[in-house]
Symmetry: C2
Subunit: 199 residues, 2 copies
Amino acid sequence: MSEAENPLRDKILEISRHLLFDEGFDSLSMRKIARRAGISATSIYLYFQNKDHLLHTLIEESVEELSQAVEQNADGEKDIIRRFNKIINGYIEFAISNPEKYQVIYMIRPNAMARYPKEKFRKARRCYELLVKVIEEGVSKGVMEVEKPVIAAYSIWAQLHGIVTVVLSQHLDSRIDRNQFITESVEHVVQGFLIRTTV
Amino acid sequence: MSEAENPLRDKILEISRHLLFDEGFDSLSMRKIARRAGISATSIYLYFQNKDHLLHTLIEESVEELSQAVEQNADGEKDIIRRFNKIINGYIEFAISNPEKYQVIYMIRPNAMARYPKEKFRKARRCYELLVKVIEEGVSKGVMEVEKPVIAAYSIWAQLHGIVTVVLSQHLDSRIDRNQFITESVEHVVQGFLIRTTV
DNA sequence: TCGGTTACTTAACAGTGTTAACCATTCTTT
DNA sequence: AAAGAATGGTTAACACTGTTAAGTAACCGA
């Protein structure tokens, strides 16, 4: 039903993503998408149940790309600490250099998020599961000091999202250098989880 | 113009906050607010320039309360580390126990936030300045290891916001205990900034 | 009592998501 | 080949949205 590849469907998605990034969430309307696609607004409903489903699909695509980017960035790295760092930096790098895709994921408010189907949300956790594994390994090898890896991974994810949000929303203090902020913040997140050795 | 206390103005704000929390951002409409207040929709425009300004006022009020809560929680504590912890925990506690007020602050997305007047945004930084001071003091006393306190404070704020967001949006994995998540996450944030002594 | 201000109203505009009904064209089946 | 069904779109309409313009009724000072 919705799995089959369809050129118009893809066109709608692409236009939506562009409009979303260019003109913002608030001004995204079905009619505007349709106008730009050269079709009638109601035609969108042939491919998406409603506006929410269209947005959810957009999220899903971005999440997929994010997960892939993180996985690829960490792929092949055997050293636990370095792998840990690569996962974290992969996340940050994707977010910073693909703001339009990253922001789509979180542009949909908490409200609308409540309607986000749980089984789709599970997919979003793929790169989180990656973190869990590396932490568990880190603990077992004695380089990390964490009670519950599941919680720790969530905590890291939350903190990273916080960092990215501040940077992308451009709320950053003008006195602060962006890259320095990112580097130092990430460093602190990492340090918060490594075993405390001597100073 | 907008500073004078006015009972109807306050009533509009109160109703708006309630509607916002109960029914979410998406379904908040001027007409709905008006209906509940027993006035016509256009009357709201006598007290607020438009919907954005109404929302901004709502944010401002919440920010004020948040700042006060954090200040009060840390007030009088002389020990640097304990003060540091109290500021952080004050923030988290306010956010978790006043979700309706905290969420109002961040319910308005980056998009609308861009229209948020900068001078009002400055007010929002009061409790952040509090953090900067305590970190600077911590560094000078040698209990904290931070290059730029200004950045560190921002980083902490971002991380805390990330933690709160995950908890309030109820995206938390069902296997994870909420309080444990908060406690451990905060602990890790703090640890990321303290000086590394022996294990 | 006249004028003006204040606090509000109704009517209207342009836009929104979404549904129902309709119309071609094409594919399938008899 | 004829009939029917499915495909891929359309237009018209409903009930809503934020916002503006114009109007109204009550009060207030001269």
